[in-house]
Symmetry: C2
Subunit: 197 residues, 2 copies
């Protein structure tokens, strides 16, 4: 019976996740900051993605954050994903973007015990989005890049507009919020959302 | 024409405001922290309320915030209003409450150049709310303590659920969000919301 309930829930709702500030690096950057490629500490919800053992300090014109998570594997281009709260603390006017779209974004300095890198761009506020498997996309009647509303079943319930669905066989189905959004809706691990199209 | 547009907008929408972390004090507490009662620096949107010249450091078990705004006039009971992000940084499990309801909330230490006060309770995360004049309550068809949804016309549009309307002739009509909520919806000064009942 519990298994049936779980299956029904998975067909009606999408699990929510909160992403803290984090950094993506290229292999060359990982090498120069740590002397080696990134090493996995624990897997993330998206298949193949992991939290690295390595961490960096992110420095902006007005402030810095120490001990910031680095996510692996390495990418073709560096990216620093922060919340609007973080961007303000760093003193950066970071644009609201989907991950991977860093054109014309401000840079920051990344520091490790071994080295220092000045990024000329790459700092963005991640646009809220839903990672989704093709099977779930069929089930929920949505397609890649579709913008939906998302109702949260959380302590401070709300309906997020402008939520982009991203469909790929490489994904697991999860909503990704940043900490401003997670706190605004009173998110706690295990909370669910419902897609409104 | 512009005046007419402004009037129509005021009848359809409610202006949004973001409240940063702040402290309310009793007269005795202001006296012991500053040697005098609070002095106004600038008025706030709510009639008679003001940002004080005086500021305090708020200290919790895990962190502190310096230079925190104190709002006047003094109240019957001290209160520290923070965002969930702030509460986490302070290391406090602050409950989600309407202003004035501080029973069973955690305390914090308040420090000024002159003194130090240990509050045994008073730290809350303010529940989002709409201050409203009785005239606007009639116009919008809502009553005191009614819970409504609020659609934001902001950069990251969303619909807040669980938004409490507070009606009083002592109020001006404004939605009060904390910075988690303001950043989650991409609030910028001048942005408007619409009440959904």
């Amino acid at each position: 019976m519990d298994e049936l309930v779980t299956q029904v829930i998975r067909r009606l709702f999408v699990p929510l996740e909160a992403s803290g500030r984090h950094v993506h690096l290229t292999k060359a950057q990982a090498q120069s900051l740590f002397g080696h490629e990134l090493t996995p500490k624990r897997p993330l919800s998206q298949p193949g993605q992991y939290l690295a053992n390595e961490r960096v300090t992110v420095i902006g014109p007005k402030g810095e954050f120490q001990n910031v998570a680095v996510l692996g594997p390495e990418r073709e281009e560096a990216q620093v994903e922060v919340s609007m709260t973080d961007a303000r603390a760093l003193g950066l006017d970071a644009p609201l973007r989907l991950s991977g779209n860093v054109a014309d974004s401000p840079g920051a300095t990344l520091v490790s015990p071994l080295g220092r890198i000045c990024l000329t761009s790459g700092v963005i506020v991640a646009k809220r989005h839903i990672h989704m498997t093709p099977e779930d996309a069929v089930r929920f009647g949505v397609r890649d890049k579709q913008v939906v509303r998302l109702q949260t079943y959380t302590k401070r319930p709300l309906i997020f507009g402008d939520t982009v669905v991203r469909v790929s066989p490489a994904f697991e189905t999860y909503v990704h919020l940043d900490y401003d959004e997670a706190n605004a809706c009173g998110f706690r691990p295990g909370d669910l959302g419902r897609i409104l199209t």
